[in-house]
Symmetry: C2
Subunit: 407 residues, 2 copies
């Protein structure tokens, strides 16, 4: 008898009818001879409604209290899904984050999992019960309610699977797997049967928002093999696991795109120690997430730095840099919005050369200009004009024949 | 510095604006030099909405899961009221039932308080914080969420006051105290400055629905003096406390009425051991709450029993008695709806005679017929026709001069 952890998001449990569907799916998994631990999110809309009430009361609600408030959303879901299961004759029991033994650390509303104590869950499983666990929540070392921030329910599912040594962890969502590229952009994109943790991480940080990076990192750290699959059908999804030798036969696993990017370039920076730190520090204090960062020394002896960020951060970035630029008489700031990022990702890159050349040729043949370039061991990312990003994705996807399953 | 426990019901915290009013009131109490522990209910409507979702999923929702579901209502209130307090600059912190150390026993949805561990609350109070405690909830010995049933938040407030040895416990509600009679019926009814636990218990069981009996019993058991007062103004309310010698100067504390009563009389019952048990057993199994119970032996050698109950239970009572009556050929059932109950309550009755005579004379003078009569040490209750209950209340209220403060 296998132990299967299934994670259902807010849309999957978004109404009483949908909860019945979730219960039916859990029952099917159970009837097939498995034990099931379901991890559920708050009903879609509930969390937003609670945040709205908090914001009505306070411009800056106390984060400890936000955790107490928001944790009720998942608590309602576990009780209701458990009732739906019991209505189908399944001996189910709800489990809060505290009861699941999810011990956390870090600031309120942004908890990190410190360790897991699955004693209570294990006891219920030994009695043959089906468990419905609240995602997104845990407790601090002094017993306070703590939430895990965005994507927290995925993290709960991975952590529960790790602590119970589950055989399978299924992340059931509104996409039916990880694709070689966004199928809305590249019609012949192909669902990947498997992808390594590292590739998944690079895809996540490159705009493929199937899962948050930290859940994938947690799974990698604890060796939890998980599957991303649809909550709407029974098709196999994509397995995410540690890389194995066969995987390297594929040079490129996928192409990901990220729109609405902007570039800031600062020229004429004195070539002195500490200057980069001051610039990045000013942007960090303004809580601007930088993506690509490129620095070099120009032939005039001054340095220049370029960064990309989400275009909605551009105004705040300019404001944050203003005081520093006022000090540096030679410096100028140059900005460009309306760009997008294209990345190719694959662990096969480590042992294959010529990937960049092939990618750049494909873009050149399509008449698409490349802006910034940045690389990691298993990724090459470039910026292009946002108006050409879909053409760029199709050109690169074709060049690497990603529509064809590897032999 | 006094420690004051204040209980706010669902109507008092029924909207964001009302929560702000509650916070302002707590701040005033705090500014007057007191420490405050507020016990709050779920926002009015929230609990009903949750129950509706549960009933949509199941005709008979699992009670363990109902507890998990319903406890979220109070958890939301404590977080929001705490945010409102912090917005006023008060260093407040929310406390769930578990964190308040409310340990319970009994069935799910109908918990009883077993003991209290106020360690966490005490620690926060020592740091000078204001506490906002979730009413209506606690935890079972094995750490499961448990709710306390109807009136549970009053019970929480009394228990918190007992465990913290609070100086004052205020039950803030939509009435501004306990009256000699319902002021909507008797215009010159007078607010009582104080009432003994036992009188309050008899009033509660006689239709004065200010508080549930078990909260009063709990307060009596642990010697918690509490005050019933309005959440809408700062007028003093009614203190509920152990009787003291001065209280006995008043013969009758108040008059209470209960409408929509019905009577069932069974005649011709064989005078055999066990017959009363079988009759009461049949009604108990049908979960019918009996109020007055009168039995006697008629001169024909058969017994007759009369009971009163809420008139909405009459049909079920008749159905429940049918099998038994089919066995007893001499028995007949007679029912009467459209009656009401009038009670006079006062500990002074113990040392004063003639109370019943005065009461019956007042009713007779008003031309009101008395049906059943039942008495306890500090209460005399009678049934009258429901159409005459208000006249009856005014006649008795006048006869005992309850509109005048005792000298």
């Amino acid at each position: 008898m296998a132990l299967i952890v299934q994670k259902y998001g807010g849309t999957s449990v978004g109404s009483i009818d949908r909860m019945r569907n979730v219960a039916a799916r859990i029952k099917r998994t159970r009837d097939a001879g498995n034990q099931v631990v379901a991890v559920v999110s708050a009903m879609s809309g509930v969390t937003d409604g609670l945040i709205k009430m908090a914001k009505d009361l306070s411009g800056n609600p106390c984060e400890r209290e936000l955790d107490v408030l928001l944790a009720t959303g998942e608590q309602q879901s576990i009780a209701l899904v458990t009732m739906a299961l019991r209505e189908l004759g399944i001996d189910a029991v709800s489990i809060t984050g505290r009861q699941a033994g999810i011990h956390t650390t870090g600031s309120h509303t942004r908890g990190r999992i410190l360790n897991m104590d699955p004693t209570l869950m294990r006891g219920f499983l030994d009695e043959g019960k089906t468990l419905v666990v609240a995602g997104f929540q845990g407790i601090t070392p002094d017993g306070m309610i703590h939430t895990l921030g965005r994507g927290g329910s995925d993290l709960t599912a991975i952590a529960v699977a790790a602590s119970l040594k589950a055989d399978v962890c299924q992340i059931l969502t509104d996409v039916d797997g990880v694709y070689t590229c966004d199928p809305r952009v590249v019609k012949n994109a192909r669902k990947l049967p498997e992808i390594s943790y590292d590739e998944m991480l690079e895809m996540a940080s490159s705009g493929s928002k199937v899962m948050q990076s930290r859940s994938v990192e947690f799974a990698k750290k604890f060796g939890v093999v998980f599957e991303v699959r649809s909550s709407l059908n029974d098709n196999p999804g994509t397995l995410v696991l540690e890389e194995h030798p066969n995987m390297e036969n594929v040079v490129i696993r996928g192409v990901s795109i990220e729109r609405s990017q902007a570039r800031v370039t600062i020229t004429g920076i004195p070539d002195e120690p500490g200057m980069s730190g001051r610039i990045l520090g000013a942007l960090g204090e303004a809580e601007i997430n930088l993506d690509m960062i490129i620095s070099n020394i120009a032939h005039d002896g001054f340095a220049r730095h370029s960064f990309t960020m989400h275009s909605s951060d551009l105004g705040r970035a300019q404001a944050a840099l203003k005081p520093l630029l006022a000090e540096l008489s030679q410096s100028k700031i140059e900005t460009e919005a309306g760009i997008a990022k294209l990345s190719v990702v694959g662990i096969g890159m480590r042992s294959h050369s010529g990937v960049a050349a092939k990618m750049f040729k494909a873009l050149g043949d399509a008449g698409i200009n490349i802006g910034m370039i940045s690389t990691s061991e298993i990724k090459i990312a470039v910026t292009v004009e946002e108006s050409r990003i879909e053409d760029a994705a199709r050109a690169v996807h074709n060049a690497f024949k990603l529509d064809q399953a590897p032999v």
